[in-house]
């Protein structure tokens, strides 16, 4: 009978430990703010026969991204992938993205690398940048390339999707 009680006690202790562990270490999250809408103006063509400027660039901090996990005091390695989900698009248009700062560390000693050079966004997830620990206000900048009068007048839209993976 005492043996059974000890077993129950051990099982209860293990259950409490695992539950505490799962509660203590929350899920890492990525959050992004800031859309970008670029209206190309017809008046940008000043001479008949000319084309639009080929490249349009957003503000350096057009979007801001945060990676966070509770407790924020803990370092944890992670990676961000990026892709574009097409809503309305023309294949002659391209979207390029880069990171323009290292953000603000939430976790002391947090680090971030990669993504500082423009890369083209495709419909498939691709590596963007990686880091360690919680960081906020990571600034993102975009470019539209391939803008031209040969593309029919219309509004084109993509949803940019960021995927956080804990490593």
């Amino acid at each position: 009978m005492k043996g059974i009680e000890n077993k129950i006690r051990h099982l209860l202790t293990l259950a409490m430990f695992l539950l505490s562990f799962s509660t203590l270490f929350g899920q890492a999250t990525v959050t992004v703010w800031g859309n970008w809408r670029q209206n190309v103006e017809a008046t940008e063509i000043t001479n008949a026969g000319d084309d639009f400027p080929n490249v349009y660039e957003s503000a350096a901090d057009q979007s801001r991204l945060r990676v966070r996990r509770q407790p924020t005091s803990q370092l944890f390695p992670w990676r961000i992938d990026v892709r574009g989900d097409i809503v309305t698009w023309d294949n002659r248009l391209e979207i390029w993205i880069r990171r323009t700062n290292d953000g603000i560390s939430i976790t002391p000693g947090a680090t971030i690398t990669g993504g500082m050079v423009y890369q083209q966004i495709s419909i498939f997830d691709q590596y963007f940048f990686e880091g360690n620990g919680s960081i906020r206000r990571i600034a993102l900048q975009y470019q539209y390339r391939g803008v031209s009068v040969v593309i029919p007048a219309k509004t084109y839209r993509q949803t940019i999707v960021y995927t956080l993976t804990e490593l």
Partner: protein, 191 residues
């Protein structure tokens, strides 16, 4: 007692699975980016503001008619930039007409657009056959889509003007007092 043990084992398994799931989790967020490309319809004749002079040559021998063989000019070029709306305005044409002045009697002024020089990109227009100019607009280039031709001379369509005697029977209508200036207008029109 057995039931209690089963419950505890279940709790342990659930907690264990939860803890394992938290060790590697994918998390996703997204936002939109949008670009709006406007309708564009711009047309220009280059060199800008040019006036060309065309006229027949006086005969060298008494009894000969005046000579129209050199009454031609091909120094002007038509440039355009166009963006169509694929459903609302699938293409455009370029029409030409005389909008000011009257052609001297006994003569016809014709214009022919050459094929696009190929300096730009997109769906450039197709030149029609030679057009005899009048006050009524006539197509000189058709099927202009979303495109640009490049700017300035040697880009776009080279325009060749030719002045002719309308018919030998009309020679009596020629009058040197009829020398005049005409304004020829090109219009990029929606279809």
């Amino acid at each position: 007692m057995k039931t209690l043990v089963k419950i505890l084992i279940s709790i342990i398994l659930i907690a264990g699975i939860t803890a394992t799931m938290n060790a590697q989790v994918d998390n996703v967020d997204a936002h939109d980016i949008t670009i709006t490309i406007p309708e564009v319809a711009l047309l220009d004749i280059e060199p800008n503001g040019s006036t060309i002079t065309i006229g027949p040559a006086a005969p060298l021998e008494e009894g000969d008619p005046i000579d129209f063989s050199a009454a031609t000019d091909n120094t002007l070029w038509m440039n355009y930039s166009s963006i169509i709306g694929s459903t609302t305005e699938p293409s455009r044409d370029v029409t030409v007409s005389i909008t000011n002045g009257t052609l001297p009697g006994g003569m016809e002024l014709k214009v022919l657009a050459a094929a696009d020089a190929g300096s730009g990109a997109g769906t450039v227009g197709t030149a029609t056959a030679e057009v005899t100019l009048s006050a009524t607009g006539q197509n000189v280039v058709t099927g202009v889509g979303s495109c640009y031709t490049g700017t300035g001379t040697a880009n776009g369509h080279q325009m060749t003007y030719t002045l002719i005697l309308s018919a030998p029977a009309n020679y009596g209508d020629l009058d040197f007092d009829d020398a005049t200036t005409l304004t020829v207008t090109y219009t990029l029109t929606d279809n």
